[in-house]
Every structure is written in structure tokens, then in C-alpha cells.
């Protein structure tokens, strides 16, 4: 299988240790620890109010941890104000200075460094070229489209050559098509400049498509930190699984537990042996077994599979290139969701028809209940 090219080193760029941020009795961030590597594209993913933006703002210096510490490039950031941190930020609203033109916006942070007119101009042009905004330098901030404003915000941060670039939901204000284009461009840009990017997003596809690693957060806590593939295929609990696309959950009983694997008894899938997740903490004898809808395949006519379940189609939803089937399996309290490509006519399966589904036991994930 094709693996993502590992451009980053193993050196830690941002070290977040036991950071808590409380507002009165409410904990926006609860004892979070995280190490972000140099040159990594790292995403903080979670629903709104999960503490991801709070964490980003604390790295930038706009917010202070109630307890715990943050270090950037080995340097503790306690007491260092935002204007003296080696980080730069792309704001959700882009925060383009409305009284300045594009060039002046990009040169804003350079002015203070007194580089001299020539060097300043060269760096501004380099930054504008990186974000494909050549020729728009004299355009006034109020005459820019959403996508252009976003590029100006990027150039303005990149021109400072920060050690870390912080992005606060930078694509949420763009329409779908532009957003998808910018995802690719941002990823390409990050690999070209080699700067550590920390992205805050609530869009799971955005995080999966762009990141080297993702931290999934819920209610001020970090639930899982892993590569996109691992997060998607081996979610650590039901919450993470549910947040990243659909997942079928099946009740299971733990029959046997050892260091690396679990033996589970389920009603629909029988007795299954699965990998034990790294963060598995046993909670009594019950557990949950999960399988993604696209990992269940429809078995046609006489074909058989080593692992299969049989049931009845109760609903069918057509989505163009795929069809979504809801299949009732005897013994399961909730019907299974199945996504099947329409190449073989899944969109013609009649509701009420008996159906057999094949699955790969590798695709079954055990989760703590």
C-alpha cells in the first residue's frame, strides 16, 4: 500500500504538556498533552467547542494556559507575548487590514524588521508568488474575493518565515469547490516551504486529506492522535469513529483478552478475533465492534465469501456513484449501513430482498464501551 512520504523529521517542534484552560468551572481544555513534529502538517479536529481553537490560540500566545506548559522549538513559551513568538497565524476571518493594499498587508510584519526596501520587496514578491497572487500587489484589501483574501492572509504569515504556521479554520468561509482546491494547494505549499503547519478544523475530510497526523478532540480532551489512516481505520472509541464518517456499531462480549488481541462474541458476526487498540481500557465484560459501511460488500448470486452475514434490505438511498443500503441482520438491534458502488447494479437491489454481505475480519474494530 502506498504510504505518505514522510517529509518531517522526528524532532519535536511544539510540546504541549498537561495544558488546562478553565473559564470559571468550565474547562475549555482539560489536561491536554501533545507533541507536534518539525515539518509536520498537523490537524486539530473536533466539533465546535471541543477546545481546538483554544489550544491553537494558546500556541499563538493569544490565550494563556491555566496550568501546564507549551514549548515551541524547545523554548518554553510561558510569559512570552504573541508578538515575540516564532509562530504566525492565518485567522478564520483572514483579518486582512482594510486600510492597506495587498503588498502593504503582506509587508506588514516585515516593516518592523527594517530589511531595507529591496530585500523587503523581494520577500513580499516571493510570498505572493508562493500563493499565486502575482500582479495583485496593488489591489486594495476591499477589492479581493474570499479566496484571494485567504491567500493574502497566508502570504502575510509565510513572509515572516515562522517556525510554525497556525491555521484557524482557514477554508470554512470558502465554497465547496474552492475549498477542495485550496486543500490540495495548502498541502503542496506546506511541503514546499517545509514549515510546521497546525490546522484547526471541524471538517473530517479536510483533516484526512491534508494532514500527516490528526488529533481528534472532544469536550476539551484529546481522544486520539494518529495518522489519518489509523484514525479512520482504527478509531479509539465510538465518538472518534462516529465523527470521522459513518460506522456500524455492534454490541460485543469480551471472551478473551491478551496483550495484542481480543476475542469477542457478537450476535451478528459471531465470534471474532481483532487487534487490541493501543488505548483499550476494559470496562467490564462489554465492548463494541465497529465496521465502516464501505467495508461491507454485497455478495451477488452464488458467490460466497469466507466471512459473511445475511439479512434483508430495508432501505435504499441513491447517491449517484454509490448507493446506501440499510440492511437488517437477524439478532442485531440496529440495522447495518452499507455503501456499495453502483458498478454492479447496487442501485437496482429491491427493498425487501434478502442479501448477503461479505466482510474482511481485518476491517472489524474493537472499541471500549
Amino acid at each position: 500500500m502506498l504510504e505518505r512520504v514522510q517529509s518531517q523529521s522526528d524532532r519535536t517542534m511544539i510540546e504541549i504538556r498537561d495544558v488546562t484552560r478553565s473559564y470559571g468551572s468550565f474547562k475549555a481544555l482539560d489536561n491536554a498533552s501533545l507533541a507536534i513534529r518539525e515539518g509536520e502538517f498537523f490537524s486539530l479536529l473536533g466539533p465546535s467547542g471541543c477546545g481546538k481553537t483554544t489550544l491553537l490560540r494558546m500556541i499563538a500566545g493569544f490565550d494563556t494556559p491555566t496550568s501546564g506548559s507549551i514549548a515551541v522549538d524547545g523554548q518554553p513559551m510561558d510569559g512570552i507575548p504573541a508578538n515575540r513568538r516564532p509562530t504566525n497565524m492565518v485567522f478564520q476571518s483572514y483579518a486582512i487590514f482594510p486600510h492597506l493594499d495587498v503588498e502593504q498587508n503582506v509587508a506588514y510584519g516585515l516593516k518592523r524588521l527594517r530589511l531595507g526596501a529591496g530585500e523587503e520587496k523581494r520577500r513580499v514578491e516571493e510570498a505572493l508568488a508562493q500563493v499565486s497572487l502575482i500582479g495583485l500587489g496593488k489591489r486594495h484589501a476591499t477589492e479581493l474575493s474570499g479566496g484571494q483574501r485567504q491567500r493574502v492572509a497566508l502570504a502575510r504569515a509565510l513572509v515572516m518565515r515562522p517556525k510554525v504556521l497556525l491555521l484557524d479554520e482557514p477554508l470554512s468561509a470558502l465554497d465547496k469547490k474552492l475549498r477542495e482546491q485550496m486543500q490540495v494547494e495548502l498541502r503542496r505549499l506546506q511541503q514546499a516551504v517545509g514549515i510546521t503547519f497546525v490546522l484547526v478544523t471541524h471538517d473530517q475530510y479536510e483533516a484526512l486529506a491534508m494532514s500527516d497526523r490528526i488529533a481528534v478532540m472532544f469536550g476539551g480532551r484529546i481522544a486520539q492522535v494518529a495518522s489519518p489512516k489509523e484514525i479512520y481505520q482504527r478509531p479509539v472509541n465510538r465518538q472518534v469513529a462516529d465523527f470521522l464518517g459513518g460506522m456500524n456499531f455492534v454490541k460485543a462480549e469480551i471472551v478473551e483478552e491478551n496483550g495484542a488481541s481480543l476475542l469477542l462474541d457478537t450476535l451478528g458476526f459471531g465470534r471474532v478475533r481483532t487487534d487490541k487498540p493501543r488505548a483499550f481500557v476494559r470496562n467490564g465484560g462489554a465492548a463494541t465492534l465497529g465496521i465502516r459501511p464501505e467495508r461491507l460488500r454485497v455478495l451477488w448470486d452464488n458467490t460466497t465469501a469466507k466471512f459473511e452475514v445475511a439479512g434483508k434490505v430495508v432501505e435504499r438511498h441513491y447517491f449517484g456513484e454509490i448507493t446506501h443500503l440499510i440492511v437488517e441482520i437477524p439478532g442485531l438491534e440496529k440495522p447495518l449501513s452499507v455503501t456499495e458502488t453502483n458498478d454492479f447494479g447496487a442501485d437496482d437491489i429491491p427493498v425487501g430482498a434478502p442479501i448477503r454481505l461479505a466482510y474482511d475480519p481485518e476491517a472489524l474494530v474493537a472499541m471500549a464501551d
Binding site: A60, P81, N83, F97, H99, Q104, R112, M160
Partner: protein, 305 residues
């Protein structure tokens, strides 16, 4: 069946054959603003026209000679007394507006950026002095600055001066102090409004790009609140040129302003045409000064980039 498909005929307003003139949007618009327009015409434009007309006539005791003359303007512009009064009025109003804006800005800034949940309470507190009459407020400055006033007794009590100072009251400084206090609220409110409109993320962005608090203020907050500063300066400058109550009460003979002279011409001296010419001259010069102020502010704004 076909009838149902065809649908209803276009709506027609029965019995009202409107003229195309009445249906034009422009005419409807004028009709809509006409009450206010007539009001403005009668109460603003007409009096000004009457004043301008008078400025070209001549007073003969009780009658007015309606032959056109520029004599009044010659007197208004060349007589040293009127020239001095005009200069002093401009100097006082300019100083007052600059001082008022300089003092009002920090207050407006504090309320806008650090007022928190109590912004409206702060604004309310600032308007409290305005519940008393303007005359009372001017008179209270007399109490503070007078020979036996609060300031003199205070300074004497502290042993800083031996006898009451007469330098505090009845001069242009007293006028400036009184007017600066009187107009503070009118400067605070427009500056506050423009500061409220400054997106706080922009200040954060400036900080993120390396600016300390002072730099981000000078490079972002101040330029973006400039419209409020300009309007505050104009709101204070234009009316203070024509103020005649304050100079009369606290100005003494050194604090007399052009409006006192105009009032005298329309009153005791009973020379309306000269009073009118002085008014028109003052109006024109104030407009020029207001225009110049806007230009100076714009230039400063451009320099700050």
C-alpha cells in the same frame, strides 16, 4: 381545462389611471421627502438667504437701503477689531477641538476596549453632566476659576501661591477650558462608535505579525478609527467658532470672540447688514478650516502607513 392553464389576467388597478409622472420612482422619492424638504427649506435655507441678502445692503438708522454694496465685507475683512476677533475665534475653536479630541480619545478607547459588559453604563455616566443646563456648567467653571474660586483657594491652601491669581478667569484660556469640558461628550461618542467598528482580530493579527501594543495601536487601531476622530474634531470645531455665551461669561475682554461682535451688530449696534457680512465671512472661513482639517487628517493617515 384550458382556462385553468391560462391563469388569471394581469392585475389592473381599477379606476386609477395614473400619470406616468406619478409612477416615476424619482418623483415618488421627492414626494416622500417633501415634508422634511420644505421644513429644511423654510428653517435652514431661507434664513441663510436672508442673511446673505442683508450682507449686501446698508443700514440707515431705522431703514435698510437695498442697493447692492460690498462695503460691509470691506469692513469685516479689513477692520483690525473684526480681524482680530475672527483670528481669536479660529484659534480658540481649533485649540478646543484638538484638546477635546486628545482628551476624548483615551476615554472612548477605554470604554470600547476595556468597558466589557459595562459599556452602556459608562456611556450613560458620561452623559450625566448634560442633564444640567449649559449655562449652569459654564457658571460652575466661573466658580472653579474665579478670584475666590475653588482653584485659587485650593492652591493657596497648599501654599503654592500667596494671593489669588487673576490669570485663571476672564481670558481666552478660560474660554478654552470651559469649551473643552462642555464638548467632551460630543467628541467621545463618534470616536467610541468608530472604535467599536474596529475588528479586534485585526489588532490580534498585528500582534501576531510582531507589533507590540503601541505599534499595533498606531498602525491599526488609530488609522481605522480616523473617521471618528475627524468627525469629532469637526463636530467640536464648527459650533465653537460661533459660541458667544461662553466668551461672554468667562472670557472677559480678552476672551471676546467673533460671535459676540455679530450679536452686538444685530443687537445694541443695530447694524444688521454688517452683522450679516460678519456671519457670512465666518461661515466661509469655518468651512475652509473644516475642509483643511479633513485634508490634514487624510495626509497624516497616509503618512502613518
Amino acid at each position: 381545462m384550458t382556462a385553468a392553464v391560462e391563469g388569471s389576467p394581469p392585475l389592473r388597478v381599477a379606476g386609477l389611471r395614473r400619470s406616468p409622472l406619478l409612477q416615476s420612482e424619482a418623483v415618488q422619492g421627492f414626494a416622500l421627502i417633501s415634508p422634511t424638504f420644505v421644513y429644511a427649506l423654510i428653517l435652514l435655507v431661507l434664513p441663510i438667504l436672508v442673511v446673505i441678502a442683508h450682507s449686501f445692503w446698508t443700514q440707515h438708522y431705522l431703514t435698510i437701503d437695498h442697493t447692492f454694496t460690498l462695503e460691509n465685507y470691506r469692513i469685516a475683512l479689513t477692520e483690525p477689531i473684526y480681524r482680530d476677533l475672527l483670528w481669536r475665534s479660529l484659534y480658540i475653536s481649533l485649540t478646543v477641538s484638538l484638546l477635546t479630541v486628545a482628551l476624548a480619545y483615551p476615554i472612548a478607547y477605554f470604554i470600547s476596549f476595556h468597558g466589557g459588559r459595562h459599556k452602556s453604563l459608562w456611556l450613560f455616566l458620561i452623559t450625566i453632566p448634560f442633564w444640567t443646563s449649559y449655562l449652569l456648567r459654564v457658571m460652575s467653571w466661573k466658580v472653579i476659576l474665579g478670584y475666590n474660586g475653588v482653584l485659587n483657594s485650593g492652591l493657596m491652601g497648599l501654599g503654592i501661591i500667596d494671593e489669588p491669581s487673576t490669570a485663571l478667569l476672564y481670558n481666552s484660556t478660560a474660554v478654552i477650558i470651559t469649551l473643552t469640558h462642555a464638548w467632551a461628550t460630543f467628541a467621545i461618542l463618534p470616536i467610541f462608535v468608530s472604535l467599536e467598528k474596529v475588528d479586534r482580530t485585526l489588532v490580534e493579527a498585528a500582534t501576531d505579525l510582531g507589533d507590540g501594543p503601541l505599534r499595533s495601536f498606531l498602525r491599526v487601531t488609530l488609522p481605522l478609527s480616523a473617521p471618528g476622530v475627524i468627525s469629532a474634531a469637526l463636530i467640536v470645531m464648527i459650533p465653537t467658532v460661533g459660541d458667544y455665551v461662553t466668551p461672554k461669561l468667562v472670557g472677559g475682554k480678552d476672551g471676546v470672540m467673533i460671535a459676540n461682535a455679530i450679536q452686538a451688530q444685530f443687537g445694541k449696534a443695530s447694524n444688521w447688514p454688517l452683522g450679516a457680512a460678519l456671519s457670512v465671512t465666518t461661515m466661509i472661513i469655518v468651512s475652509l478650516m473644516a475642509g483643511a482639517t479633513v485634508l490634514v487628517f487624510r495626509a497624516l493617515q497616509r503618512l502613518a502607513r
